[in-house]
């Protein structure tokens, strides 16, 4: 039954919250150690203006970081696919850039890029663009050789082969990369704010921790989780809209009609 399938995740989530509430109440845990879900919700309601302001800042950083990672990641993948020379030139650099812990170069980025939102956007971008590049390269390369033979026997120039075959063929991979990237962009923005910030959810989280306001910390974490889930869902919806033909969305469609 559909409602069983739909309600299953809701049941587990509500069950976990009820258990959490019961444990905190039953063991009389002090608020500063672990606040009850009701307390977190109360903090969320009381501080919504404060939290809303910082949420807006962080979402702004995440979105710009994510957007930049697409605008740079996809063309970089194209370069890698089309130029073996540039691939050899760029690839080690690309892998090296991912081996450096972003948190380690964070202070330097602040030093170079200054205060404000830009360095946070930069960290979000640095984390997010790698999966996009890797997955796009795989997608652009995964065209069947026979398809390319056919395209050439149709006299198609490479530009047309790219637009009509390679790029659409890479969409499923690109979206797989985008889904990983969007969650990493959230991590990147928070990491950037942890290093230095005077606004944003990362800043709010540090402030709340410093004042042992665990309710508020949990409220900020809750919002961060919600941002991640919502952005992921948006990418997922766009994917379903753009590539309804892909195998991962075919569960409801009957295949092999004869």
């Amino acid at each position: 039954m559909w409602w069983r399938r739909r309600s299953a995740p809701a049941v587990t989530v509500i069950g976990a919250i009820v258990l959490w509430e019961a444990v905190v109440g039953g063991f009389r845990l002090p608020e500063y150690l672990l606040p009850a879900p009701s307390g977190v919700l109360a903090a969320l309601a009381a501080e919504w203006r404060y939290l809303g302001l910082h949420t807006a800042v962080t979402v702004y950083e995440i979105l710009w970081g994510f957007l930049l990672s697409i605008l740079i990641g996809v063309p970089l993948a194209m370069i890698i696919v089309y130029s073996p020379l540039l691939e050899r030139a760029f690839y080690p650099l690309l892998v090296a850039s991912q081996s450096v812990p972003k948190i380690a170069i964070g202070p330097l980025l602040i030093f170079w890029a200054g205060l404000g939102m830009f360095p946070k956007i930069l960290v979000a971008f640095l984390l997010a663009f790698f999966p996009i590049v890797i997955d796009t390269v795989v997608g652009l390369r995964s065209v069947e050789p026979e398809m390319l033979h056919l395209a050439r026997s149709m006299g198609a120039p490479e530009r047309r082969i790219f637009l009509k075959i390679r790029l659409p063929n890479a969409f499923p991979n690109i979206f797989a990369g985008l889904k990983v990237a969007v969650t990493l962009a959230v991590v990147g923005a928070i990491v950037g704010e942890f290093i230095q910030a005077d606004r944003g959810l990362g800043y709010a989280l540090l402030q709340a921790n410093a004042m042992l306001n665990t309710r508020l910390s949990f409220a900020a974490i809750l919002i961060l989780a919600a941002i991640g889930v919502v952005l992921f869902a948006i990418v997922d919806v766009i994917e379903r809209f753009l590539i309804p033909w892909h195998a991962s969305h075919r569960t409801e469609m009957a295949a092999g009609t004869l």
Binding site: G155, P168, T257, L258
Partner: protein
């Protein structure tokens, strides 16, 4: 094109593939002609270079030695005046059947709209009426291969290259496709080069059959098939048909490609 003229000339063609274990000679000085309007099959065991031969004629791989000409012009780049059908249908998953057929038109930089009518007619002619707007994953393997066939025909090419087109199909679908191919070939003024490892299919469809040796691929024998046309499936029980299949099978046995019961235990 006048019947009987040479459409394809393959002269002294060799093909070497470089591999990590050194060079592999896939084709060794192969020469033959494809006459305009004929149905020519190339039969051989796996790895005899018969598929390579199709790729060389299509201009998709360069020859190592020798020369190929199509319609009097030496092949030096991918040929655009032919249709190709591979063993796999290689359809684009995001295009409906009719749009997969029209890919042939679009990739040539032409407006597909005036060709839509013909694409629909082609699909209907191979039994896909009502399936024109289905996506590949909604079609059976045989239907996909029919779409692939229509894509190879939409631009009405004089030459059709078919590289084991029924290789991935079940026996009944193969039989039906064989009849369809015969009909399509008999209808227009097409020349077909049909690559297969099925002796029966080759005999059923062909005017002439080239039998290849195992690697390195050389031409072993060329057989003329003088069975009357159009041929019905029952022709396969005809004694002349059996004689031809036996002749080809004997060549394969002579090369050790096939071993019969009494030759088995040694």
């Amino acid at each position: 094109m006048a019947g009987g003229g040479k459409l394809v000339e393959v002269s002294d063609v060799s093909k070497v593939y470089p591999t990590t274990d050194g060079d592999v000679l896939a084709l060794d000085r192969v020469s033959f002609d494809v006459r305009a309007g004929e149905f020519l099959s190339i039969v051989g065991p796996s790895g005899c270079g018969k598929s390579t031969l199709a790729m060389l004629i299509a201009g998709l791989y360069p020859v190592t030695a020798g020369a190929i000409s199509v319609d009097g012009t030496v092949v030096a780049r991918p040929q655009t005046s032919l249709g190709i059908v591979f063993q796999n249908p290689v359809l684009l998953a995001w295009r409906k059947a009719v749009d997969n057929v029209l890919l042939q038109v679009e990739m040539r930089g032409l407006d597909p709209r005036p060709h839509r009518e013909r694409a629909l007619r082609l699909l209907a002619s191979v039994g896909l009426e009502g399936f024109e707007h289905r996506y590949p994953h909604e079609l059976s393997g045989g239907m996909r291969q029919r779409v692939s066939l229509c894509r190879a025909l939409i631009h009405d090419p004089p030459l059709l290259l078919m590289d084991e087109p029924f290789g991935a199909l079940d026996a009944l679908t193969r039989d039906q496709m064989t009849l369809d191919i015969q009909r399509i070939w008999g209808r227009g003024q097409k020349t077909v080069l049909f690559i297969t490892h099925s002796i029966t299919e080759a005999v059923f469809l062909s005017d002439r059959i080239i039998v290849m040796t195992p690697r390195p691929g050389r031409i072993d024998t060329v057989l003329e098939v003088d069975l009357p046309r159009p041929r019905r499936l029952a022709v396969r029980e005809d004694t002349r048909f059996a004689g031809l299949t036996r002749a080809i099978r004997d060549r394969f046995m002579a090369h050790g490609v096939l071993r019969d019961l009494d030759q088995e235990a040694e």
